[in-house]
């Protein structure tokens, strides 16, 4: 394995970790609420811009700024759920989906009006040379943090859903909302939890993405379409599937373009080619059968 390959794998892991954070929120929202949240990408952008405000404009340290950004994100998530998605929850799933498209273009336009079309940056991009298994690779501190934190969050989320009382309650609502209600579990509460967690994760991804690239109003869209593919790749509603799908897409993108197997102009198409190929071979997704009962 050459150093180029090692570097490409590292880059792919970073991208995969960020996609995974976004995809987790999407798959949770789909699993419990039953629709695809198209405005999830704007939550990523929200995270990046909120962090930029706290860190760059108010000159807070990185950690308090990040915590403040996550808090803002969670609050926004709770408000969006309550104001927009709760009233249409019992309708045909097409309706919250179309509504979230409306939300998405509205939020993008708001970002454009407040921050203008100029490109903003957070990081100064200092690279560290890092040695893993005897291979030298270049990594920024934020990338190392992104990988570390996303693994912690993914593991934590799986444990949370498996072991804690609230996690079991969320899975109960996901698997059958009306039966869960008969047993006295409030759907409203479950939705609040899901949107809080989902948007929180998207905001964290947004903060790290802000270190990786420039801030622009559409940054979230590019991220969320990849996350959609990751979610479908792994089977909609499945947590482990979304994580696996995300890393698959991150690594495929990085390796296929980096080793010039595919010309770089085509890189944006890679997630979808994988996705469509996957849907043809195994439409239920990688984890489809096992999680079939999560939501129908």
């Amino acid at each position: 394995m050459s150093e180029l390959v090692a570097q490409l794998i590292w880059n792919g892991l970073v991208t995969g970790a960020l996609i995974a954070l976004v995809a987790l929120g999407l798959t949770l929202i789909y699993g419990v609420a039953g629709f695809i949240q198209f405005a999830h990408g704007e939550m990523v952008a929200l995270g990046a811009y909120a962090f930029m405000i706290f860190h760059k404009l108010l000159h807070w340290e990185i950690l308090p700024a990040a915590l403040a950004a996550v808090t803002v994100g969670v609050v926004v998530g709770l408000i969006i759920e309550k104001l927009f998605f709760r009233p249409v929850r019992e309708h045909d799933p097409m309706i919250p989906l179309v509504l979230s498209i409306g939300l998405s273009i509205g939020l993008q336009a708001l970002i454009l009006i407040f921050f203008g079309p100029n490109i903003l940056t957070i990081s100064d991009r200092s690279f560290h040379s890092l040695s893993i298994f005897g291979k030298k690779i270049l990594a920024t501190p934020s990338q190392i943090w992104a990988i570390f934190l996303s693994f912690v969050l993914m593991g934590g989320l799986i444990l949370f859903l498996k072991k804690t009382k609230i996690g079991k309650y969320l899975r109960a609502v996901a698997s059958n909302r009306s039966v869960a209600e008969v047993f006295g579990m409030s759907t409203d509460h479950a939705m609040q939890w899901i949107f809080g967690i989902g948007v929180g994760l998207a905001v964290i991804a947004g903060i790290f993405l802000g270190f990786e690239q420039n801030l622009e109003p559409l940054m979230g869209v590019h991220m969320s379409v990849k996350a959609f593919s990751a979610v479908v790749l792994g089977a909609v509603g499945s947590v482990r599937g979304a994580i696996l799908g995300a890393f698959l897409i991150g690594l495929a993108e990085s390796l296929l373009v980096g080793l010039s197997i595919i010309p770089s102009g085509f890189s944006a198409a890679i997630p979808f080619v994988i996705l469509i190929g996957m849907l043809l071979v195994r439409p239920e997704g990688l984890f489809g059968r096992r999680f079939e009962n999560l939501r129908r």
Partner: protein, 293 residues
Amino acid sequence: MLSYLFSLLIITAIWVLLVQSYNLSFGLTGLFNLGHIIFYGIGAYTAGILNTRYGFGFFENLLFSALVAGTFAAFFGLLTLRLSGHYLAIATLGAAMIATVVATNWVSLTNGPLGIRGIDEPELFGQVIQADSFGFLLLIPGVVVVCNILLFRIFHSPFGRILRSIKDDETASRAVGKNIFEAKMWSLVLSAAFAGIAGTLYAHYRLFLDPSIFAIPEIILIILMVVVGGRGNFWGAILGTILVVIIGEVPRFIGFPNNIVGATRNILFSALLIGTMFLRPNGLFTFFQKRTE
């Protein structure tokens, strides 16, 4: 001012056809295909390429782009129609992304980001119809009206009722012996053919094409128009299109600074979409319809 109204009218007419074609597959049959814009783009590129390289005229292009878009839709359908609901939405959205990438990078066919320039204006009985002439005002809306009459016939034919039954209850429709896959396929192919015709109209009006024709904002706009008018509602789609076009022109007249006109327009669209979903999820024009249920 007059030329502004003129171009608004032509553009609205092209939108009406594109939206009505989408209304056939998305509205009537309930296929949540987020990639409809691909067929429009393919129609436009077919017309552009056939015209600039092989000298095909406007009327031949109407036929050929409908054929190419329809044939493409048949393959597209083979790939995607097995999927249902949200899976279909994501896969077709992905297909639209792939289309942008292909149109940008397949330079030998599409001339890449530079686009195709110098498409001829339509010609009728040896007479060139210029884009700002009165003849143009008859020609484009004329084609749109003819196509809409055909679409109206499809909407209200027995076949149209099968499509409606698929949206309402696919299992029940299958239970009474309808071939669901075949009906969905025909719905997609016909819808694509009309979208291809709309694309030809666009190509011969703008005389210039580039990959931005496949962009996500365009997809959102046609969804908005169908949903505001009412999914599966023939007259609703037309009224929805006109309403959205008019609302989209408002920020220009209020006198917002140029750099935020686009953003203001999107905020209006967003409010319109969210408002429609809250107040009348079946479209703003459902009150023109007789209550049947």
